[in-house]
C-alpha cells in the first residue's frame, strides 16, 4: 500500500486536534451535564447563580407600610386593599435612597384597566363597578373625585 494515501487523514486528525484543544480554552470549566439527563441538563452551571443575582425591582406592600403607615392603613381598610402600591406608583427598589419621590400615575387609563365596564357574562370583570370611559367625565382625571386609597362612592 502506498503510504501517501494517508496524508489527508493526518490533515483531518490535525484539524480535529485543533478543535479539541480550542475547546479546552474556549468552553467554560463548569459547562457540562448538571441535571438528570443530557437532554435537559446540559449547561453552564455558573449561569444559575447569575440569574439568582438579577436585580429585584418590586418590593411589595409590606415594605411601603413600614414608613407610609397612614396611606397603607387607609388603603388596607378599603376595597382597593389588594392593589399593590407599586402598581400605581412604580417599583420601589431605589426609594427612598436614590429616588426621593416615586411617580404618581394619575391617568384615566390606569383606573380604566379595571373600571372600564365590559359586558362579559361569567367574567369577574363585569361584576366590578365600571363606567364607559369615553362618556363619564372624560376630560378629568378619576382621582379628582375618587380617592384611589379609599374609593368609597358613599363619601362622594
Amino acid at each position: 500500500m502506498y503510504k501517501h494515501v494517508l496524508r489527508p487523514l493526518w490533515v483531518a486528525l490535525a484539524v480535529i486536534a485543533v478543535v479539541l484543544v480550542a475547546r479546552q480554552f474556549m468552553v467554560p470549566a463548569d459547562f457540562g451535564v448538571h441535571g438528570k439527563t443530557f437532554t435537559y441538563g446540559f449547561y453552564r452551571l455558573g449561569n444559575v447563580e447569575e440569574w439568582k443575582a438579577f436585580p429585584v425591582k418590586y418590593q411589595g406592600q409590606s415594605r411601603c407600610a413600614k414608613c407610609h403607615t397612614e396611606n397603607s392603613a387607609e388603603i388596607a381598610g378599603s376595597k382597593h386593599a389588594n392593589i399593590e402600591c407599586e402598581n400605581c406608583h412604580g417599583p420601589g427598589v431605589n426609594h427612598p435612597k436614590q429616588v426621593k419621590k416615586l411617580p404618581i400615575n394619575g391617568s384615566r387609563d390606569l383606573c380604566l384597566r379595571c373600571h372600564q365596564f365590559l359586558p362579559y357574562p361569567g367574567s369577574l370583570r363585569s361584576e366590578l363597578p365600571g363606567i364607559d370611559g369615553a362618556k363619564h367625565m372624560r376630560r378629568s382625571e378619576c382621582r379628582k373625585c375618587h380617592n384611589p386609597h379609599h374609593p368609597d362612592l358613599e363619601d362622594m
Binding site: L9, L13, A17, Y40, N47, Y58, N87, R113, P121, G122
Partner: protein, 255 residues
C-alpha cells in the same frame, strides 16, 4: 513504499486513540458536577384562575418592568388573552400589546361586538409552562437553555447563539428574541425573586389573586392542594411536554 492493510489499520486507529482522551476529560467530570447541583427539595408550579382574571394587565406591566423587557416592544414574558364568544358560535380573540395596558376597548380589531350577542367572555393569562419535558431545551444546539433541578427553564445569555430553534420548538409561543440582548428570552417564574422567598412580579401585582406560585413537593402548599384536589387543566397536553402551569376554569375555546 508499501504497507500492509494491517499496518494501515494500526496507524489510523492509533491516531484516533490519541485524540480520544482529550474529549474524555470533559465527559468524565460530570459526576462531580452532579454532586455540586444535588437534588432539589422544590418543584415550582403555577396556578392560574381564569374565573378571577379581569384583564387589568397589571401583571404584564409589572413583568416588563421587573424583568427589563423593553416596555414599548411588542414582546413580553407573560401576556393576557381576551376571548369573546358570541351567540353565533364565533370566537373573537385578542391580546393588544400582550394586555400590557389592560383591555379598555370593547372593540376587537376594530370590530364592535354588541353586548347582547355575547354568550360568554373571559380572560386567560399565559406564561412559560416550565415544562417537565421542555421541547425548547431539547432542540437547543449549544446547551444555552436548560432545566434547573427545581424545574425552571433558564436561558444563558452569554452562550445563546440566537438561532431561534427554541422559539420555533415551543408549542405555546412563550419565547422571543430579546430586542436588546439579542438572545432567546422567556418567563422564568422570576427566578431571581422566588429563590429568595419572594413572589414572581406578576403574582404580586395581581389584585385578584388570579395568579399563584406553589411548590409541588410540599403537600401543605395551598397551590399543591388545589392541583391535587380540584379540577385543573393544562394547555396543549397532546404535545407531551408536561406543562407545570395549571388552569382553573379553562374553557375549551382557549387556544
Amino acid at each position: 513504499m508499501t504497507c500492509s492493510r494491517r499496518d494501515f489499520m494500526k496507524q489510523s486507529l492509533g491516531a484516533l486513540a490519541a485524540a480520544t482522551p482529550a474529549c474524555a476529560v470533559v465527559l468524565l467530570t460530570q459526576e462531580d458536577a452532579r454532586a455540586a447541583v444535588g437534588d432539589s427539595k422544590v418543584r415550582w408550579a403555577f396556578l392560574v384562575d381564569t374565573e378571577k382574571c379581569v384583564g387589568c394587565g397589571l401583571c404584564v406591566s409589572a413583568c416588563k418592568t421587573e424583568n427589563e423587557t423593553p416596555y414599548d416592544a411588542p414582546v413580553t414574558r407573560t401576556w393576557v388573552e381576551r376571548y369573546v364568544v358570541t351567540k353565533d358560535g364565533e370566537t373573537h380573540i385578542d391580546s393588544p400589546l400582550g394586555g400590557r395596558d389592560g383591555f379598555i376597548d370593547d372593540k376587537i380589531r376594530d370590530q364592535t361586538i354588541e353586548p347582547d350577542d355575547i354568550a360568554k367572555a373571559f380572560f386567560v393569562p399565559k406564561l412559560c409552562n416550565q415544562c417537565e419535558n421542555p421541547p425548547c431545551v431539547q432542540v437547543c444546539p449549544v446547551g444555552a437553555t436548560y432545566q434547573t433541578n427545581d424545574g425552571v427553564v433558564l436561558v444563558d445569555r452569554t452562550w445563546c447563539i440566537g438561532c431561534g430553534y427554541c422559539i420555533m420548538a415551543c408549542p405555546y409561543g412563550v419565547r422571543f428574541f430579546h430586542p436588546v440582548h439579542k438572545t432567546a428570552e422567556k418567563c422564568n417564574f422570576c427566578y431571581h425573586r422566588i429563590t429568595q422567598g419572594m413572589e414572581p412580579a406578576c403574582v404580586q401585582a395581581c389584585p385578584f389573586e388570579a395568579r399563584k406560585l406553589g411548590d409541588l413537593r410540599d403537600p401543605e402548599d395551598p397551590v399543591t392542594k388545589v392541583i391535587s384536589n380540584e379540577r385543573v387543566a393544562v394547555l396543549k397536553d397532546e404535545y407531551g411536554t408536561k406543562p407545570h402551569v395549571f388552569y382553573l376554569g379553562l374553557d375549551e375555546k382557549v387556544r
